[in-house]
Each structure stands twice: as structure tokens, then as C-alpha cells.
């Protein structure tokens, strides 16, 4: 796994989160969310700061211990956060997992392996984690 980020990323996170909360006009792009698909696993504030901690914890639990259909299941993020246009969380620069990361200079390799498209999930009636 090779994730790269700039030095002082904490500072970036703080700045990004603060700017998002205050909704400053010159701030980062605000990710599009779809509350009609259901609530997130936690408050948006906590998700902004801790989503990667949750994901990394969950992946160990799932891969090593066989924990299935957990709250922090990767495909659930994809199903809820996919854009209706691209049906993906990482296809276009405006897609959910891309905008913030570009702004905060975070690079994740998750989508080399994890399917960012929710099209198949939607076809199975799992869109919006229903």
C-alpha cells in the first residue's frame, strides 16, 4: 500500500475542515451529499476528520477476522456517496472521494482495487445502502 501525502498534513486537515465548517467562499469544494439516501455513520464533522481511521480499522477486521457487512463497509460508502451522474465516487474530479483529497493533497490508492462505481450495487438494489 503506498499512500502519499504532504508533510504537515494535520495542518492541511485542520485548515480544510475549518474552512468547510465556516463555509468560507474561498474555501475548498464542498462535496455533494445525498441525505435522502440515509444518514452517514457519524456526524459529518467526525467523518471529515476520521473516515480514514475508520476505514483502516475496518479493513483489518474484515480481512483478518472475517467481519462482514460492517457499518464501515467500503461498498456502503460507495453506494451512498456515488454521484448520480458518474455513478461513482472517484470517476470525475467532482466525485465524492476526489475533490477534498485533491484540495488537501492526499492521494489514496484504494481505487486501484476497490470498485468506485456503484452501478452494480444499484442493479442489485443496494444503492443508498438500502
Amino acid at each position: 500500500m503506498s499512500a502519499r501525502f504532504v508533510a504537515g498534513r494535520r495542518w492541511f486537515l485542520a485548515a480544510a475542515a475549518a474552512a468547510m465548517v465556516s463555509g468560507a467562499a474561498a474555501g475548498p469544494p464542498r462535496p455533494q451529499v445525498y441525505p435522502e439516501r440515509g444518514p452517514c455513520l457519524a456526524e459529518a464533522e467526525q467523518m471529515r476528520r476520521e473516515h480514514h481511521v475508520l476505514l483502516k480499522h475496518q479493513r483489518r477486521e474484515s480481512v483478518r477476522e472475517g467481519v462482514r457487512d460492517a457499518k464501515v463497509d467500503f461498498n456502503r460508502c460507495v453506494a451512498c456517496h456515488a454521484s448520480p451522474v458518474t455513478q461513482s465516487v472517484a470517476a470525475a474530479s467532482s466525485d465524492f472521494c476526489v475533490g477534498c483529497h485533491a484540495y488537501a493533497a492526499v492521494r489514496v490508492d484504494c481505487f486501484n482495487c476497490h470498485q468506485p462505481s456503484a452501478a452494480a450495487l444499484m442493479a442489485q438494489g443496494r444503492g443508498g445502502a438500502r
Binding site: M1, V63, E65, G66, N75, A118, A129
Partner: protein, 246 residues
Amino acid sequence: MNATVQEREQPLNRERRSWLSHFAALAGAAMVAPGVHLLAITSAEGAADAKKRWGMLIDATRCDPHCARCVIACHEENGLPTPTRASDVRWIRKVALREKRSGREVSLPVMCLHCANPPCRDVCPTGATFKRKDGVVLVDRHICIGCRYCVMACPYKARNFVYAPVREQRNEVPRGAGCAEGCTLCVHRIDRGRLPACVEQCPNRALIFGDLNDPSSELVQRLQSISATILRADLRLDPAVRIHGV
């Protein structure tokens, strides 16, 4: 496979099948109670159970030489592309064995044998290859560095390396370039109480899946009544996949 038999790979006859109906059954499982807000990080009990040891019996006497349904099922379930070159990924492959003197031929599928003492794990420099509590040997691809020691170490040639970038992953089965991989016994299915795809799709019941620690399981009952072969028993790897009729 001993010195008196030849091994050759059989071509894969591809036929398409819809998997949607199977996955519709899963739809309810991913739900979480509405209004769950605070998220505590806990150590949840997973489906991997140390009291179990998953295993399989491959009954070559029931395997049809002209059938490759298990191989097709594996590729569709795990989103593996149809193999065309030697370097393409195969988690399960059909082989034909021929005894040189008598000319007797048998056909059977082979895959990762999920050894109790897996050499792939022993050589892994990062701990990416590991054995789950229930005996399933897996690659944690989050820490695999793609060194391919495991590919070399496996005496059954069951480990693959992914050379080309992957785009068509199934959501349930993430996989990508630069990692070693092999049969997972369909962990994503067995953890939810379903059979591995190859076992489910075999029309002749030549594949029997079960818990080697459960004396009442069909698997153990069959193993008690036949003399199943342990491939390369001399290596003392104690594989969980046994073979009958070779």
C-alpha cells in the same frame, strides 16, 4: 501429482450466467439501524472461527473432462478476466492427468489447497500472506508489496501475480495490479454462510466443501469412507483440500 502423470491445462469454455439473482438475496444484509450516529471503534467478532477448519474434497471420479463450470463460476464470482495468456490470473484451473503406462486419464480442478503449514506464508516478508483462524490462507493486499516470493514457494503453483491494472472488479471482490493472489475459498461468501462459487456450480457434485473439524459434516463423512490423496504428502503441509481418484 507424481512422476508418472503428465499435466496439461484444459481450455476454458466460457458461458455467461447472470449472478444478479444470487446477490439480490444479500440486499438486506448490509443494512444498519437508522439513526446510528456515534461510532465507537470496537473489536467485533468476525466470521473467522478458530474451532473450524474449512476444507474441500475434489472427487476426480465425478469430474466431467469436458466441463469447466467451476472455473467459469470462479471467474464470474471474483471478476477475473477470461485467461488467454500464461501470465493471466487463474485461481482454479482444470487439469488432465494421464498415467503414462496405462493411458488412464482423469480430469480435475485444482486451486490453492489452504495448507495448515503454508510455505507461501512462511516466505512472505511483510506478513501479507496469512492463515485465518479457520484455516483459509489469504493475501492481505493492503500490505502485499508484490515481491512474488509466495508465487515461487507454493509447490502447487496456486499463487498468481496480477500484472495488468484491473478496472472491472466486482464490488464484493476488490483486487488490483502489483499483488499476489489466489483462491480465497470465496471468503466473502462462506463468511455469510454460502458455498464457494465453484462448489455451488459443479453439476456433478465433484466438489464437497465443509468443516474438517466437524465429524458430522458431509466432507468428513466422505473422507472417512474413501481414501483421498494428499498431494505431495511428503512435504507435510497438511492441505485442507484433498483429492480423490487420481
